[in-house]
């Protein structure tokens, strides 16, 4: 009975916590510029994420080590440090984007510009982490995040052409504007396969004290939960195809994005969009700041847990306090969060091999996983994901220059 409840909660968490500013803006840009054509990128990204998340959970449940613990132990300090530098830069940019997303949502709701909100937002996020417990952050934020389900309602209400939707799930090449098409595809993959999510999930497995008996549950949460999350992303894309593409609107600013649901849900569309973005970005901001703190604490062997009082894990709390305050600075100066998002998605894609390659080794380690090691199928999948990540890493920066 307890497990069923945990399962339900886990599913809600992965659905409610799936969308963030990166996945929403990239999906909207894709829909507004290329119709249903780029649905396959979301599908591919989601499938990769499902496997990676399942493995993160399995590794931690069986070995009681998080990915970061295991990476440091197996690959040594120099490699860990290199990954840490890259992940910190990327995660910091994503955090700026998410805090900015909260600010922008408040801006369209109240009319007060997001730079004015920046300090308030970052203090509020910090306060939630300072006082809140892990389950409050994980479940509370995701429950609110369920507002994002309204994207599905909006998409369905506009009666998409299901044939074209199905056709879009198959990869095709763009007929014109190839550079931009490629860039948006890479950004979508960068937004879907987010390393911070794997670090967060793996740490959550330890925070929630999972063991081997949770392996089936982990599989369902990763598989079903993340798939539903992917459907949310697809719904955003579909809604953008129907609401923005015919009008010729290309999403460059949040003000344009805010109109997404007004044709489908005349009465509530605008407010729902603002709240959906507010909660989605809030959840993501919490997860990212925690992930960065987890990353350092685990990598250097400090004590860490969101459930401890701050004086018991001072270094852990210091890391997230510092990073949240720093992230507010560019926003106060009015740096456009949408631009930061686009840049951070490309950077995520460019650094993707760093967090993913160690996976192949860790998931085959008999000392950590014993009989729960990857089989040939999972190994083939990881190998394919690694290949994809290298392709993304190589093409993302040139594409940013040509098509971004």
């Amino acid at each position: 009975m307890k497990k069923i409840l945990e399962l339900a909660l886990g599913l809600i968490t992965s659905v409610g916590g799936f969308l963030e500013i990166g996945s929403v803006t990239t999906a909207m840009q894709a829909g507004a510029s290329f119709g249903y054509q780029l649905l396959w990128a979301i599908l591919l990204g989601t499938v990769c994420l499902v496997f990676l998340v399942e493995m993160s959970g399995r590794l931690s449940a069986v070995s009681k080590h998080t990915i970061v613990d295991a990476t440091r132990e197996r690959f040594g300090f120099p490699f860990f440090f290199f990954v840490a530098v890259a992940m910190t830069i990327v995660s910091f940019l994503v955090l700026v984007a998410e805090l900015g997303g909260i600010g922008l949502s408040l801006q369209v709701l109240t009319g007060i510009g997001f730079p004015w909100w920046a300090v308030f937002v970052s203090v509020a996020v910090w306060l939630l982490m300072w006082k809140g417990s892990f389950s409050l952050i994980e479940n509370g934020a995701s429950l609110l995040g369920l507002v994002t389900l309204s994207f599905v309602v909006a998409a369905v209400k506009m009666h998409p052409d299901w044939g074209s939707v199905a056709h879009g799930l198959l990869p095709t090449l763009a007929s014109d504007n190839k550079a931009k098409y490629g860039f948006v595809a890479v950004s979508i993959l960068g937004a879907s396969i987010s390393p911070y999510l794997m670090y967060f999930y793996s740490s959550g497995t330890i925070e929630d004290k999972w063991d081997e008996s949770y392996i089936p549950m982990n599989r369902i949460i990763a598989g079903v939960g993340m798939s539903f999350g992917g459907i949310l992303s697809m719904a955003v894309l579909v809604a953008a195809v129907l609401a923005l593409q015919p009008r010729g609107i290309d999403v460059q600013k949040f003000e344009q994005a805010a109109l997404l649901m007004t044709p489908a849900l005349p009465k509530w569309g605008f407010v729902l969009f603002a709240f959906a973005m507010l909660f989605a970005c809030l959840g993501a901001a919490l997860e990212i700041s925690l992930s960065i703190a987890y990353f350092f604490a685990q990598g250097f062997g400090w004590s860490w847990s969101e459930d401890l009082s701050p004086s018991k894990d001072a270094r852990f709390c210091f890391v997230y306090t510092l990073i949240i305050l720093l992230a507010a600075i560019p926003l106060v100066f009015g740096v456009d969060p949408i631009k930061v998002t686009t840049m951070s998605m490309a950077l995520t894609a460019a650094t993707l091999p760093l967090p993913i390659v160690p996976f192949l080794f860790l998931m085959n380690d008999p000392i950590y996983l014993g009989e729960h090691r990857n089989g040939w199928f999972s190994n083939s999948v990881v190998t394919i994901i690694i290949l994809i990540s290298f392709v993304l890493a190589i093409i993302s920066i040139p594409l940013q220059i040509v098509g971004g």
């Binding site: 197996r74 690959f75 192949l360 080794f361 085959n364 380690d365 008999p366 950590y368 090691r373 190994n379």
Partner: protein, 102 residues
């Protein structure tokens, strides 16, 4: 008596008595006694690295299908290694006298 840092020794190139390159030190085979940790042997070569990463179950099938032969792994007992110059570890024996560990 000389004090060394094992983690810095790791990855150093080793030459044999004739000055020929044998590979890098990747791992240390140790034995725990009651209150000491004795180094039995130095493991040298690519396979030692695989050993260190605990990646045999991943690498073995690939190696079998691609290479069809073993990669070098040398096990140098402690008394055959000369660490007088830690920057340039040397074997006291010839490369041809080395024993493969696996």
């Amino acid at each position: 008596m000389m004090e060394l840092n094992a983690e810095l020794l790791m990855g150093r190139k080793v030459r044999d008595a004739d000055g020929k390159n044998v590979g890098r030190i990747e791992e240390f085979d140790v034995e725990r006694t009651d209150n000491a940790c004795l180094i039995k042997a130095y493991l040298i070569g690519t396979s030692a690295l695989v050993d260190r990463l605990s990646a045999w179950s991943l690498i073995r099938p690939i190696r079998r299908s691609l290479l069809g032969r073993g990669m070098s792994i040398y096990r140098v007992p402690w008394d055959q290694m000369d660490l007088a110059d830690p920057e340039h570890p040397r074997l006291k024996i010839r490369g041809s006298e080395l024993r493969h560990a696996k």
